[in-house]
Symmetry: C2
Subunit: 214 residues, 2 copies
DNA sequence: CTAACAGTGGAACGGACCGTTCCGCTCTGC
DNA sequence: GCAGAGCGGAACGGTCCGTTCCACTGTTAG
């Protein structure tokens, strides 16, 4: 087996390469379940020792940042995919369904504040905001989204879906889908509906999570 | 000032009686903000020493149990009030608005599992379930609630509202009201709506919180 | 007036938890 | 064979938190 350039690696090298994946997967599962789980829980779940973790990441903060950034990228990717969909309303609802299914919200918002973000994350977050705005604009254009709904209502919506949580992951997905259906029905425009109350959610109102907490 | 039967107490006694209230209020505020806040945070918020707490409660668990039970009783009280309302739909929505405003959900569900419940709490919880069912039945009877909504959808709804959380309490209330409005719109019956997906939430699916966690 | 004492503040203790380091081992790649 | 990459997991140091304890103070009964 080749050592420096080949694709198939044997023995130790292969094991190490596989561990890269296994560890990230375990970390995602563990921190999704509990954002302040100990590092040891990740190692245990991955079936590796703690050293295997520290060989790859400088510390817990590094791992969390990586995870969060991955979530952010996933969000952006799903939004870009959605924008390729010709039907405006389907693009909007499909995007939300995929983001909810992937639990991207827990991966990004709920992990923020536990590490100092990079510049690139700031840029990605900004891009995510632009894409979301584009999707909401198109949803408005389709006439299916109630006029008084704003972009930042997506924050509320995603929070609401992420809050649904039962022990079984598949069941969690089902219940979240139901929650999403109710919320989308509520955001659909109907002839003579009462307007949504209160000042609508605004730009900076959910950024408080990005600052230090507990 | 009388010592054993009078209404007005002076000095120490009065201070102590007032502390009863102050401490409970502080505990509610603190644990609402963070269910695993330290006891010391409650004392600080109340402006008293730690002794003042331990004189009244055997330990943290006692305090939490009391708080949770109070929340449960509030839920029951609001439900009973709502059942006096003649308009079926108004009873339903009014009940939810008051429960959301009082943040009863955080006080009960989010605190459960941190203590061993009493028998009386079990009875109250059962009664709460019955009253909620009665309210949902009446809402169905009014024809305003979509037919495929079930009692346990209230669990999802309350969870969704409780998940909304910003630093300012009053703003939190406003945003929760908005979230509630969207959800109620989504639960309203409209002529030709797609049915809600998935098996509806069932009886035991949210009880997992009452078992030990972290 | 004064002796007991209920009520209190907050320091101190003991234990749990957790991030990180470190050491000895294994097994690979040269 | 042998140097060392990769690893498992014990051990360390630090933080945090529930609870206890003690000295103190104003009140109240006699």
């Amino acid at each position: 087996m080749s050592t420096t350039s080949g694709k198939t690696l044997g023995g130790r090298r292969a094991q190490a390469a596989r561990n890269d994946e296994v560890i990230l997967e375990a970390a995602r599962a563990v921190f999704l379940d509990d954002p302040k789980a100990p590092i040891a829980a990740v190692a245990e779940r991955a079936g590796v020792g703690i050293s295997a973790l520290y060989r790859r990441y400088a510390g817990k903060e590094d791992l969390l940042r990586q995870l969060c950034h991955d979530g952010l990228r996933r969000y952006v990717a799903e939004a870009e995919t959605a924008l390729d969909e010709p039907d405006d309303w389907a693009a909007f609802t499909g995007f939300l369904a995929r983001v909810v299914d992937a639990d991207v919200h827990s991966l990004t918002v709920h992990l923020a504040g536990t590490f100092t973000p990079t510049e690139e994350m700031g840029r990605d977050a900004m891009r995510a905001g632009e894409l979301a705005t584009a999707l909401v604009d198109r949803a408005h254009a389709s006439g299916r989204l109630r006029p008084d709904a704003v972009v930042h209502d997506l924050g509320l919506l995603l929070e609401a879906c992420a809050a649904v949580r039962v022990p079984d992951p598949e069941r969690t997905r089902q219940l979240r889908r139901r929650q999403l259906a109710v919320l989308l029905a509520g955001l659909s425009s109907v002839p003579d509906a009462d307007p949504l109350p209160g000042p609508p959610p605004a730009a900076g109102e959910f950024d408080w999570r990005w600052r230090l907490r507990e």
